[in-house]
Amino acid sequence: MEELTIFLVIYGTLLGAFGAAAVLVWFERRLLGFWQDRLGPNRVGPFGIGLALADVIKLLAKEDWVPPFSDRLVFIFAPTAVVITMLLGFAVVPYTEHLFIADLNIGLLFFLGMTSLAVYSVLLGGLGSHNKYALLGGLRSAAQMVSYEVFMGLSLMGVVMISGSFSLVDIVKTQAENGWFVISQFFGFIVFLMAGIAESHRLPFDLPEAEHELVAGFHTEYSGMKFGLFMLGEYLSLILISSMITTIFFGGWLGPSFLPDLVLDFVPPIIWFFAKTGTCICFFILLRAAIPRPRYDQLMSFGWKLLLPLTLVNLLITGAVLLWL
């Protein structure tokens, strides 16, 4: 029974993540259209939802061209890295108290490790393409992701200090007693949110592929399903970061405690988890619609001069409160 559950969770996660990523392609464009007061894709099927399928067919049917001047081994390896690492990251996400693939005692670190490995995709894509734009995109992403990884890890340490564990299930259980961490670790949450956007290089922090200056950045030379894998990786990391924000800062599968007990008993925990994650994804898409892309040096100085001191002060205060109160 136990093994069967884990088996089902693994395949459920796999299919769910792929399906959600495909639907997100359509959903994002539709939401952007809504927020920018235009129609968005509405031609294929009801509400245009067929676009998700049409996009997949298009990507699979396109010519998959490996440029002769590229470094073949590196070029082909690059797009797989982000998809593999992001899917591995889902292994530690607890959907409910008993529904997860693995509850590692280093769960949080495992997640950070997987996001830090995802950078190779962009990096090697830029390196293997032998293209100046791709190289510049890869360089930018290396600097951006290595920098924002620092704040991403540090911003979570306050949470780890309070809950006394790296295990994500324990972190959510602590929130059942102490209230959601978004209140007690508000600055940690802000920094993690920013670092999360930078790590998944979503707009407004998508400088590795800034179209107006770098053509398409690191994936300039990619076409067909290899390009599709990069897109898939981006959406997977968006979902992963959203579910991590839900788990770490918004109480995971817990319902909001101000609701009456009747509602909390009635709604199953997994619904709360997916509702929160979905809201988070919508927020990421809203950011894309609302904020212009910063300049590269602005991004770096924003990180090192504002976010790093903020996380350190947050850690200091959290430590002091835990020690003396």
Binding site: D71, V74, I106, L112, G113, L117, V119, L124, G126, L139
Partner: protein, 172 residues
């Protein structure tokens, strides 16, 4: 039993990847094999019951330091000229002395393994234990490491500052 199989698989991958990393002519390929070898050793750590060390290996070595290595390779943009250079440098007779030294070390390890009888203990060392050890008995090592990092940081800051001044056409 499964643990043993996992260990030997990871160990084989690590050794093969390390060998390939040393013998590649193309610097970027060598780096990829080095990353694979680091990931392999992370799995070895995990199998031996040190999950914290394993994840740090991935996070710090594979995820941060190797990224900077690739970064430098990209900046240099070696390409075909770099491969030619490596061909000149990596001549067969270069391998004689390093191989001899390695063989000596191998003999030493085999001798040690034969004489001592340390079996795989299989105890799992959790992150909490590592933390308590690091900030308890080994706090001096942590302090020294932090000083070293601070020195590096100050040095890097100094170099960066001078470079910026030169860019603006000012002098120190």
């Amino acid at each position: 039993m499964i643990q043993l199989g996992l260990f030997y698989m990871a160990a084989t991958i690590t050794v093969v990847a390390s060998l390939l990393a040393v013998t590649r002519y193309n610097a970027s390929h060598a780096l990829i094999y080095l990353i694979v070898s680091l990931l392999g050793s992370a799995i070895i750590f995990y199998v031996l019951g040190a999950p914290f060390a394993a994840v740090l290996e991935v996070l710090i070595y594979a995820g941060a330091i190797m990224v900077l290595f690739v970064f430098v390779i990209m900046m240099l943009n070696l390409g075909a000229a770099g491969v030619d250079n490596e061909h000149q440098w990596l001549q067969p007779r270069m391998w004689i002395i390093p191989s001899l030294l390695c063989l000596l070390l191998l003999a030493e390890i085999l001798f040690l393994l034969n004489t001592s009888s340390h079996a795989l203990s299989g105890t799992v060392v959790g992150p909490k234990v590592v933390g308590i050890e690091l900030f308890g008995p080994y706090v001096l090592a942590v302090e020294i490491a932090s000083m070293l990092l601070l020195a590096g940081l100050v040095g890097a800051y100094h170099l960066g500052r001078r470079y910026l001044l030169d860019m603006r056409g000012e002098s120190l």
